[in-house]
Each structure stands twice: as C-alpha cells, then as structure tokens.
Symmetry: C2
Subunit: 512 residues, 2 copies
C-alpha cells in the first residue's frame, strides 16, 4: 500500500521516447547556464590545491592509458604525490581494524574472532553511542567518552598530570582538515575593509592557501630557512609580519610540526620563539601537529606547542592555540577513515560557543572515524592480550618509515643537481632541484612554472607523480618538488633510479 517505490525492486523499462530526450539532453546545454564561471564565487575560482591538481589528474589518465594497453616507457604510475600510506601498500594496524569491525557489526562481539581487549574497546565505544549504534548522530564535537580519551592521551603524550587537558576543549572531526578550516573560518570578516591575514610557512601544505583563498583571507607567507634544515627564523617572521600588517589584519600564525612538505622537526627553542613572537603580535596559533608520531631523526623529538607554552608559564600558558591531529598519518595511515581532533586552548568562551554552533549544522563527524581516533589515543597497554602484536606492528611501521626517510634523502642527494635536507619527520622529502636556464626558459615558453614543467616531463617519461615546489611555495628563483617516502623500499629504489636517469637526461637536454 504505502511504499510505492523500493530500491532495487523495480524493473528497468526501456522507453524509446525517453532515450531520445536523453541523448539530446546529454549533448546540448542550456544556451546560457544560470551558474557560470563569470558569475560564480570568485574565491572558489582562486583556490588551488596542488596535491590533487592537474598533474595528478594527468597521472590518473596515464594509469588508464596503461590499462588500455597504450605503450609507455614504463609499466606503472607511482603516485608519490600524496601522503596516502595504504594506497602505497602499507598495511592497516590490525587492532584498529578489529575494533572498527566490532563497532560496525556488534554481533561479532559474540564470536571468538577477536581478542578480548579489542572487544572491550568496542564495547566502551558502543556504550557511548545512543542506541548502541555507530549509525547514530553523535554530538557535533564528538562522543564524550572519546573526547575524554583524547584528553588523557594528551596528558600521557606530554608527560603531564591529570587535569592538564580538558575533554571539553577537544573537538573530534573528519580528518584534521575539517577542524583547521572550521577555525580559520572564524577569523574572516567580509564587512571589514582590511582582510584578515594568516601567517603561513612557505613552503606550506596547500590546504592553508586553498582555504584562505576560499574564505577571502590574506595569506602572509614567512619563509622557512632551507639552509638551516627548514627552521623558523625570528627575523623572517618579523619581516613577513611588517610587510603585511598594513594591507591586512594579521590574526593568526600557522606552524606545521613536523613539517609538511619539508620534513623538519622543530626544536624546542624554535617553538618558544614562535610563542614569544605570537604573544607580542597577539596572534592565534594554529599548531598543525598531525605528524606527531612521525619523528625519525636521531636526537629529534616532538614538542607539542601545548607542552612548551605550559612549561613557559604565564602569560604564554594562556595563549590561544589550536592543535590538530588526525588518524590519517602517524603509524596508522587511516586516511580514508576520516578521523581527527582539534584541541582548542584558551579560546574566548563566546567564540568557542560560536565554533560549536558552526559545526552543529554539519551534524557530526563520522562515528567510525571517531572510533578510529579512539583506538589511536587509547591503544593496547602492556599486559593486554593485543599489546605485543600491536607494538610489533607499530614499531615495524615507524622503523621502516625511518629507514625510508633516510634512503630517500640520501639517494636524492646522490643525484647531481639535487640537494635535499634530511627527512627528520613527517612523510615527505622536499629536495631543491637546480635547473638550467634553458629549462627555465622552455618552461616560461610553455606558460608553466619551471618545476611544474619538470614534474610534467618526469611524469610523462617515467610515470612518477611528484608535486612541484610551486604548489607549496618556495623562495623566488628556487625550484623543488615534494615526494612522499611511503612507497615500499623496492619501489622507492626503482622510483629514485628512474628519477635519477630522467634528471640526468633532463639536465643534458637543457644544459646551458
């Protein structure tokens, strides 16, 4: 009676008249569309996101050409453009997936398929879900029990006592990007004659430049010092601020630590310096700390902004800082699951209420993503049935990443005309390529940045997809590219071999 339509239960009727309408509608377009390039949102037109830009689109096309049997001088495309661990053959952490399968299909709790600590984690998460289902809408900032686990994780991470982190300051999100954008968005104000400005490192992760363009905010770039391992420099921060303070209202500074695309790990002194600078200029700090598990260099250590500011005491300890974390990076690499959190410190309570309100219209971040974050912040503990296998897997992943970080930087440095800082952390190398003038001229003629020209040539010749430095920003006259360190060792070796051969030929072709 009542349900006139049910999915999958109807038969497909082929109606010639409709088919005709169809053909005409797919080949003709309304003469002038309502929404056109010249009347659409200009901010969206301006935004660029190089990590998924034209180069990557071309790489995907080439993949399809290879599948279709087109002959190429290579037999596979290597996508070193994006920090996507699983796509590059890195395996999920078993314990994480066990818990996620259990919360997704709770009848598995009754089987003896999984270890007891996985069952326990799943039961605790489900107890936090209304109706005992991950299919419910959680509170917009996430499930309380998971926010509490995040707060405990932060205390443990920073070696601080209970009370150091407040679960009410934790906002769970579908990957760090969502929270970063949510906080950036608070700062724009179209009614002001001066745009809001945000200081970002150059090179930077293009989420920042893209989002600032979208929100009609001013990008205030400060250069990282390549000669000093991509460290931050006070004089440069000051220069950047002074150069922009008249044309925009500088409200915030972004620091990415460990660095993307640079792979640097900031020293404690560097972080103190940023805090002092930000206090003096009254800047809100965006601490992009998504690679906090990815520190490889001997003697290096991850220092959270929160810990450093707390130890510096007043007035630093009451600065406005938002720290971002994700389940997409680290040892877990769960990009597609879309989990993350922001810890928002010392935000004006009225503004915090507005932030909470603004995320409520998006309902909630994926509950399975929240559950994934829960396992990341609350992994098996010594004595738990899964502890030793979990630890072996995590250690194995991080040790292997450390080896690959070293292998990539060393191999790149062995190629003439390429210099690369050590990959201290994160998932990328960002080598400088020294291009001959003729190549730069040829690029100019082709209407491209020289490193984009290089990257397209590399892709067509070798199937290797890297991202040119111009997508991240770099000092005028220098050229770089970003490659991930995520391919398996043998693939990295083959990739760097192909890249080295190409590079030599490229230099030969364009030698001055």
């Amino acid at each position: 009676m009542m349900m006139s339509f049910r999915p999958g239960l109807q038969t497909k009727t082929s109606l010639a008249t409709f088919a005709r309408t169809l053909v005409s509608s797919s080949t003709t377009m309304a003469p002038t569309a309502t929404l056109q390039l010249d009347n659409m949102n200009p901010c969206i037109k301006k935004m660029q996101y190089a990590v998924r830009g034209p180069l990557v689109i071309r790489a995907t096309e080439i993949e399809k050409e290879l599948q279709a049997g087109v002959k190429k001088p290579f037999d596979s495309v290597i996508k070193a453009n994006i920090g996507d661990a699983h796509a590059m053959g890195n395996k999920p952490i078993v314990f994480i997936r066990q818990v996620l399968a259990l919360v997704t299909h709770p009848p598995l709790l009754e089987s003896d398929e999984f270890p007891e600590d996985a069952n326990d984690r799943a039961r605790a998460i489900l107890a936090g879900c209304k109706g005992g289902s991950v299919g419910y809408y959680s509170d917009s900032p996430g499930i309380e029990v998971i926010r509490r686990h995040v707060a405990e994780y932060i205390e443990l991470r920073d070696g601080m006592p209970s009370g150091y982190a407040d679960w009410k300051n934790i906002i769970l999100c579908a990957g760090a990007s969502e929270s970063i954008r949510g906080c950036l968005k608070l700062m724009t104000d179209q009614s002001q004659s001066k745009k809001a400005g945000v200081m970002i490192p150059i090179p930077q992760y293009p989420l920042y430049s893209a989002s600032l363009a979208e929100y009609n905010m001013e990008q205030v770039g400060y250069y990282l010092v390549e000669e000093r391992g991509w460290a931050l420099d006070l004089a440069e921060l000051e220069r950047s601020y002074q150069a922009s303070k008249d044309k925009c209202d500088v409200k915030a500074i972004v620091v990415i630590n460990p660095g993307n695309p640079t792979g640097q790990v900031l020293s404690r002194a560097n972080i103190e310096m940023v805090l002092k600078f930000a206090l003096e200029k009254k800047l809100f700090i965006f601490a992009d700390e998504v690679y906090q598990h990815n520190v490889y260099a001997e003697g290096s250590q991850f220092h959270s902004f929160k810990k450093v500011m707390t130890e510096m005491g007043s007035p630093y300890s009451s600065m406005e800082v938002a720290s971002f974390m994700t389940c997409s990076k680290g040892y877990m690499g769960e990009c597609g699951i879309r989990g993350g959190y922001a810890e928002v410190l010392n935000m004006d309570p009225d503004v915090m209420a507005m932030l909470q309100k603004s995320i409520s219209a998006k309902l909630c971040p994926t509950v399975i993503g929240q559950a994934c974050m829960d396992v990341v912040v609350n992994p098996p503990k010594e004595g738990d049935p899964s502890f030793s296998s979990w630890k072996a897997q995590v250690d194995g992943v991080l040790e292997s990443l450390a080896e690959r970080a070293k292998l990539v930087a060393e191999t790149l440095n062995s190629i003439e005309g390429i210099t690369c800082n050590p990959v201290m952390g994160a998932m990328y190398a960002f080598p400088q390529i020294h291009l001959p003038k003729k190549a730069i001229a040829a690029a100019k003629e082709a209407g491209m940045a020289a490193d984009a020209f290089y990257a397209f040539a590399l892709l067509e010749a070798t199937g290797i997809c890297i991202i040119p430095g111009s997508g991240f920003g770099q000092r005028e006259g220098t050229f770089h590219f970003r490659t991930t360190i995520l391919a398996q060792k043998d693939v990295i070796r083959s990739m760097l071999g192909r890249l080295g051969d190409f590079h030599v030929k490229f230099l030969e072709e364009y030698k001055d």
Copy 2:
C-alpha cells in the same frame, strides 16, 4: 633510536610546578583574546541551527541531571528533535553492517561468518580501493565503482534506460549536507553589491538558513500551503521572487521532497510547476530528495525532479539541477556513517571543474560512508542469499514507519488546539499549535518566540524535546513544532500521552 615519543608508552609524571601553571591557566584568560565576538566572522554569528540549538542543549543537561539523581516529574528525556533512527532504537540493516565490517577488516572474508553476497559486495568495493584498503584516500568525488552503482540505481529508481544517469555527474559526500553546502557555496559572490539569493521553502530544514547565513547569501522564503497539505503554490513562488528580486540576485530554488519538517510528498504536477517556474526565472534547482525511500501515504509516490524534467523533454531536460541523497534516512538511518551523494545535472562544465576542485582540498569523503552508500544503491537482489532477510527487514522498517506516521498525526489531531497534516513521507510531523494570547504575551515577556516558550515548558515538564516551528520558519502569527516519528510505538504512545496532558494544562494555565 629515532622515535622519541610513542603513544601510550610514556609514564605520566606529576610535576607540581606544571600543576600550578595549569590551575592558573584554566582559571584566567588572556585579558583580551585575539579572537573575540566583536571581531570574528559575523556570518558565523548570524547562523542558527535549531535542530541542535539551546533546547537540545538543555535536554542534554536534563538527561545528566536525571542520571545524577535529580528528581523530575518524568524519568527519561525523549529526543524527538532530530531524525536519528538508531538513537531511537531502530536497528541497523544487517546486510549493510556485514558489508561494512568486511571492508573494514578483510580477513573476515576468509571466515564463514557472513553470506556470500555480502562477501561479494565487500570484494567489489575493496577492488576499487588502492592498496585494497578503506584507509586510502579515494578520489574526491568518490570511488568510481560506487559512483557507477549510484548511476545504475538512479536508472532503476526512475525506470529509465541505461545511459539516463552518468556516473561522472555523481559526487559522493559525507552525508547530503556536505554536498548541499558545496553547491550553495558556488553561488555566493562577496564582490557584488547585490547578494546572491536562494529561494527556500518556509518551513524549511535549517541547514539551508544556516548555510545561507554562513555564505552571506540572501534567504528568499516561499511559504508552503499548510491548508493544502504543505503543497507548493505558483502564486506564492511568484510573490516571493518578486518581493526579493530587487534586493538580491535570485539564483536558485530549494525544494525538499518528501518534505522536512512538513512530511508532504509532492505531486507530479507540483514538480512540473516548479520546473516551469525555475526555467522562466533561470534558477538552479536544489532537489533535496533525501527521504526518497520514505513515502507512506496511500496513493502517494516519489517523483524525482530528474525523472519529471526528463519526461517533460526540452528545454526542461537540460536545466541545472542537483539532487541530493544520503544513507542517514530511508529505511537504513545510518546517520553516523556519513554517506551520501549528489547528482549534478547540466552544470556548466567549467563550473563543474571548479566544484570538483573545491572539494579536493577536503581530500575525500569517508570511504566507509561511500561503502555504505554502495550497499544502499546496490542491495541484495532476488535470488541472492541475503535477499529475503534483507527484504523482510527493509519492509518491516518501512511498514513500521508508516504505522508510526499515521499514529503520530492521528494522535496529535485528537488533542484540542493541535492540528496536524497527514505525515505522507519523511520522518516528521509538523503540527500547528493554537496558543492562547496570554501564552503569547508571557513568551514575549520572556523574550522568546511563543512556540519556543511552549517547547521549553514542554521539555521541563515532560522531558520531551521537540523543535519549535520558529526554528524552521512559519507564517507570522502561527505556531508549530516538529517532532520525529522515530520513537518506538510504545514510546510514541507514552510521549504523545505526556504531550497531550501537558498541552491541556498549558492551555488551562494561559487561557484567555
């Protein structure tokens, strides 16, 4: 050597000095915060999302008070504020969860835990994932194989031949809201003196008013006709358009069918009328069709905008329409999973490229949400091992919803001073409450809309959380509320009993 920090492996050191800093930082605030109410984004301040507004916050407080043993005239809070099926005790569809567990933890494919068709679906989805992992970053518009399944579903749904839907027009998203916002955002242009305007039904689902406020766009409301079962009316569309066309640039019209909060199901004639109107005014159509599975009224049927415009032929068949769908509603109610899709028709290809670019900075929608959408559009077919159990579950859910829809409307109509249109579809009733003048005056004195005043009184007296009509919009001088029909039958009966008793007392207290 290299990993100086590992989660969960450190000991928590309690340091008295830090503890002191901590206490001071949690009680004092920087005297003037960088980001304050008076310098933050005014659009965010303006946005309102009633479904998760102050009333719901108070409901959650009351829940905690009950847990803490505070005595109330009721022993539970009933959250009828949000279309969250699982939270109200509705059970997940087993086949969906089996497939999701399998893609999450593929070793389960080797067990004999699940039926073969669930395994097949999981294998097909995993074959579309790089590295065979749902932890990979998919293409921003989603996994190709799932987009293809969506296109096939649309053909089947509308009884149309192959080729009717093009998978390249399908954009997967984390719930329909994400795509709706992504498309709305394309239309704003801060550089113009006239704001972009979008026609939305009144009453409307507050995602629209909230997002229009956030994007600094003008809300152009057209009233649905309560006396005619919340139908759309051409004269009213025209009135609304004419009243706003000078103060804003009206670019689009939103239609929600089946209706939220109204529960109406549009007739085919109504849809044709909208298409003609939109063509004449050159409007982009947002077809919010997330309740397409939820049609209960006898003789009613879901007609997609796409089908109607295709059957109307040229020029209607080449109009710009985006249709939105989700896995949060229907018979599945998988809200927390965050899956959905938009089918974007006849968009200018350059604008479509911009839309694709704009979503790329957000990387990708949750892959598990995509997988959920895959199962929704590609459920078990006759002859498959899971078909009969799947069908029994789906039929059971939809029949039960239809019964509850009837029960809610009939019971509400039996209460003096409440009139309610039949709940033809979707998940809500939107009754009108006839409030005495004294109550309206008392509300005014309390600085509240009269229906908000009523809703707060209801919540405090009975623990029932509904959303006042003012959160959705309504004709001046009329008052309504929205309640979901999702509680289990016995809970609905008890809830409507409590509500009826309250209503009588309320009328008594404020009788003119």
